[in-house]
C-alpha cells in the first residue's frame, strides 16, 4: 500500500512519517511512504503519472491549494483511494469531508498524545480497505443516482423498491436506510434474478422474504418491514 503525506509543518510531517515507517517495519505488510512533502504541488506532480493508495493531508497547507482542493483533485483521478485529513478542531468540517470527498477519517492534531494512536488506527483501517478492494469484485453492485450523488448498492442489501404515490419518486429500502430517487419501477425489476415485481408499487427481493401472508397479501421481510403483493402476482412468489 503506497502512502503519501502532505503537511506544511515540517516537524509534524517528520513525526507522522516516523510513526508510519516504524509501524510498516514492524508489521512488514508492504506499506511504504512514496512521498512525504510540505508542498501540495509535489503531490499534484506525483499524480501526473502515478498514484498512491492512501493519503494523509493537512487542511491548511499554507499554500494557495488547500487540503480540500487537493482532496478534490485526488478524487478526480482516483475514486477509491483512502483520504485521511489531519486537522485542528476549529477547521473540522466532518460531514462536508465525508460527503464531498468520501474521506476515510480525520486526525485531530490538538491533542498530540492521542495523535499517534489515532494515526495508527486509521492506517490499519485504510489497509483493511486496501486489501478489500481486490475482493470486492465478486460482490454484485448496481448504481442508483439520486440528485447530485451516485450510490453503489449491493444487491444483497436490497429489501424492496417502493414507488411513492402521486410522484415519480422511488424509495429504495435497504437494511437500515431509505434512499429516495427519481425513476420508474419498470427499470429496476430485471436488475437481478431475485427481484420480483409483486405489486404495482413494489419490487421485492425474494431472498429477503421472511414469510408471506397470502390471505392479507402482505410480505414480511427479514428486518420486520412489510410490503404488499397483489392478488394477480402472488402466484409468482408462492412457487
Amino acid at each position: 500500500m503506497d502512502i503519501i503525506i502532505c503537511e506544511d509543518d515540517i516537524a509534524q510531517l517528520e513525526r507522522a512519517k516516523k510513526t508510519i515507517e516504524n509501524y510498516a517495519m514492524i508489521e512488514d505488510n508492504g506499506m511504504k511512504i512514496v512521498l512525504a512533502t510540505t508542498n501540495p504541488d509535489d503531490v499534484l506532480a506525483f499524480l501526473e503519472n502515478d498514484k498512491a493508495d492512501c493519503y494523509f493531508l493537512d487542511i491548511d497547507l499554507n499554500h494557495e491549494i488547500t487540503g480540500i482542493a487537493l482532496g478534490t483533485k485526488i478524487r478526480e483521478k482516483d475514486p477509491i483511494a483512502s483520504l485521511v485529513y489531519i486537522t485542528t478542531h476549529a477547521e473540522m468540517s466532518y460531514l462536508t469531508f465525508i460527503y464531498k470527498l468520501a474521506a476515510l477519517d480525520f486526525i485531530i492534531k490538538d491533542h498530540p498524545d492521542l495523535l499517534k494512536d489515532k494515526l495508527l488506527s486509521t492506517l490499519k483501517e485504510a489497509h483493511r480497505r486496501y486489501l478489500k478492494i481486490g475482493e470486492q469484485d465478486n460482490i454484485q453492485k448496481f448504481q442508483i443516482k439520486t440528485t447530485g450523488r451516485t450510490h453503489n448498492i449491493d444487491f444483497q442489501n436490497v429489501y424492496f423498491f417502493e414507488a411513492s404515490p402521486g410522484s415519480h419518486k422511488i424509495i429504495l429500502h435497504l437494511e437500515n436506510e431509505h434512499l429516495e430517487f427519481y425513476g420508474r419501477l419498470k427499470d429496476y425489476e430485471d436488475l437481478h434474478e431475485d427481484f420480483y415485481r409483486c405489486h404495482k408499487s413494489f419490487i421485492v427481493n425474494r431472498s429477503k422474504i421472511k414469510n408471506i401472508d397470502s390471505k392479507e397479501r402482505i410480505i414480511f421481510l427479514d428486518n420486520d418491514e412489510v410490503c404488499y403483493v397483489s392478488a394477480r402476482l402472488i402466484k409468482g412468489l408462492m412457487k
Binding site: 460531514l95 462536508t96 440528485t147 410522484s167
Partner: protein, 433 residues
C-alpha cells in the same frame, strides 16, 4: 315486491361500496381482508337490517361507526370531516342521479333502464366527486397548516350538516318524490356551498394567523441571531484583553522557570476555556455563509436550544448557500422538524451530539442532519416515519411523518434516511427548479 327488495339490496350494496371507496381513496388507506369483513359485518349489515325499521336514521349509525373506524385507523380528527363530506357528496350525487334519470327516462317507463342509468350516474358522480375532493384536500393540506382548533370546528360543521341533511331527507314527501328530491337537492347544494365557504374561511383565517405567528417567530429568531453575534463580538474583545493577561502570566511562569506550573496553567486553563468558547463561536461563524435570513434565525434558535440542553451542536457551511428552491415556510418547517428531532434524540444521551451541514454537490444543495441516539433503543428506519412514532413517549412523533408528507409533495426534494450506529442521519437533497 321482490323486484323492489332486489333493487333495494343492489342499491345499498352499491351505496355502501361507494361510501367505503370514497373514504379509503381520500385517506389513502389500505384494508386487510379481516378489516373489510369486520366493516361489512359490524357496520353495513346492521345498517341494512335497521333500514326498514328506522329508515334513514340507520345511515347515522353507519356514519358514526365509519367515522370512529377511520379515526382509529389514522388518529387524525380531521378525517371525521372527510367521512361526513363523503356522505354529503354521495347524497348529492344520489340526488343528481335521481333527477337526471327521472328527466331522461321518465317518459319511456322502462324500469330496468332507469335503474341502470341511476347506478351509472351515481357511480360516475361519486368518482368525480371523490377525485375532486381529494385534489382539493391535498392542495389545502400541503399549503396550509391545520391545527387542532380548526379541525374540531370543521368536524363540528360537518356533523351538523349531516344531521340537518337527514332531517331534510326524513321530510321527503314520498307521494311527490321527484319534486321533493329536487327541492332537497337545491337545499343541499345551498347548504353545501355555505358549509364549504365557512370551512374555507375558517381554514383561511387560521392559516393567516399561523403565517403571522410564523413571521413573528422569524423576527424573534433573527433577533437572537443578532444578539448572539453581538455576544461573540464582545467575547472577542474580552479575549483580546485576556490575551494580554494570559501572555503576561505565561511570561511569569517562564521567567520563574516553573515548567510544572506552566504545564498545568496551559492545559487546564487556556486550552479548556478556549475549547468551550470555540464550539459556539464556530457554529455562529459558519452561519455567515448561510444567506437565507429566515433560516439563519431558525438555526440560531436551535443552536441556543441545543446549548440549553447541553447538546454539542456542530454546523458546517463551508460554501455560501444563497437560495433553496422551496417555499420559505415549508423550508423552515422541514429544517425545524429535523433539528428538533435531532436535539431531542441526542438529549440526555452519553456523548450526544448534533451535526448539521449544508453542502453543494454540483447543482444540488444537500442538507445533512445527524445525531447520536440512545443505543439501548433499537430503532429501525421504517418505523420512524409512522405517525405517532417516538422514542420518547407518546404524542411526540408526528414530526417525521409530517416531514415525509412535505417532501412527498415537493418534486424537487428528496429525503434519505440512514442509521449507521451510533449515528442517525437524514439527508435532504434540494434540486434547483
Amino acid at each position: 315486491m321482490d323486484v323492489l327488495t332486489g333493487k333495494m339490496l343492489l342499491m345499498s350494496i352499491i351505496q355502501f361500496s361507494m361510501m367505503l371507496f370514497f373514504c379509503t381513496y381520500i385517506l389513502d388507506l389500505y384494508w386487510s381482508k379481516k378489516q373489510l369483513i369486520t366493516i361489512i359485518i359490524i357496520i353495513f349489515l346492521p345498517t341494512f337490517l335497521l333500514f326498514p325499521f328506522i329508515g334513514a336514521w340507520s345511515m347515522l349509525y353507519c356514519l358514526s361507526l365509519l367515522a370512529i373506524m377511520m379515526y382509529r385507523e389514522t388518529k387524525v380528527v380531521m378525517n371525521i370531516l372527510h367521512v361526513c363530506m363523503a356522505l354529503i357528496l354521495l347524497v348529492i350525487g344520489d340526488n343528481i342521479s335521481n333527477i337526471l334519470t327521472f328527466r331522461l327516462f321518465n317518459g319511456i317507463g322502462n324500469e330496468q333502464l332507469s335503474i341502470i342509468s341511476y347506478f351509472f350516474f351515481y357511480i360516475v358522480f361519486g368518482l368525480i366527486f371523490a377525485f375532486c375532493y381529494k385534489r382539493i384536500v391535498k392542495y389545502l393540506i400541503s399549503r396550509w397548516v391545520i391545527n387542532s382548533f380548526v379541525s374540531y370546528i370543521s368536524v363540528f360543521l360537518g356533523i351538523t350538516t349531516v344531521i340537518f341533511m337527514y332531517i331534510n331527507i326524513m321530510a321527503i314527501d314520498h307521494d311527490n318524490f321527484y319534486e321533493s328530491v329536487q327541492n332537497n337537492l337545491a337545499m343541499f347544494l345551498i347548504y353545501f356551498v355555505l358549509l364549504s365557504i365557512s370551512v374555507f374561511v375558517v381554514l383561511y383565517l387560521a392559516f393567516k394567523q399561523y403565517k403571522m405567528k410564523q413571521r413573528e417567530q422569524e423576527m424573534k429568531n433573527f433577533e437572537s441571531y443578532v444578539t448572539s453575534i453581538e455576544q461573540i463580538n464582545q467575547d472577542m474583545r474580552k479575549f483580546k484583553h485576556d490575551y494580554i493577561n494570559i501572555l503576561s502570566s505565561l511570561r511569569t511562569f517562564i521567567d520563574d522557570k516553573n515548567y510544572e506550573g506552566l504545564h498545568t496553567y496551559f492545559y487546564d486553563h487556556i486550552l479548556e476555556a478556549n475549547h468551550h468558547e470555540q464550539l459556539n463561536q464556530q457554529a455562529m461563524m459558519m452561519l455567515n455563509n448561510l444567506k437565507i435570513n429566515s433560516l439563519k434565525g431558525l438555526v440560531t434558535t436551535k443552536i441556543l436550544q441545543a446549548q440549553s440542553h447541553h447538546v454539542p451542536f456542530y454546523i458546517e457551511i463551508v460554501e455560501e448557500i444563497t437560495d433553496i428552491d422551496v417555499d420559505p415556510i415549508l423550508l423552515n418547517r422541514m429544517v425545524g422538524i429535523l433539528l428538533d428531532n435531532a436535539i431531542e434524540a441526542a438529549r440526555g444521551v452519553e456523548n450526544g451530539e448534533v451535526r448539521m451541514a449544508f453542502i453543494h454537490m454540483g447543482e444540488v444543495v444537500l442538507l445533512v442532519v445527524s445525531n447520536t441516539f440512545d443505543k439501548k433503543i433499537a430503532i429501525k428506519v421504517h418505523e420512524i416515519y409512522q405517525e405517532g412514532f417516538s422514542t420518547k413517549g407518546e404524542n411526540r412523533g408526528l414530526g417525521l411523518a409530517n416531514l415525509r408528507q412535505i417532501t412527498n409533495d415537493l418534486h424537487n426534494v428528496n429525503l434519505n434516511t440512514k442509521i449507521s450506529s451510533p449515528y442517525f442521519i437524514q439527508e435532504v437533497e434540494f434540486r434547483k427548479e
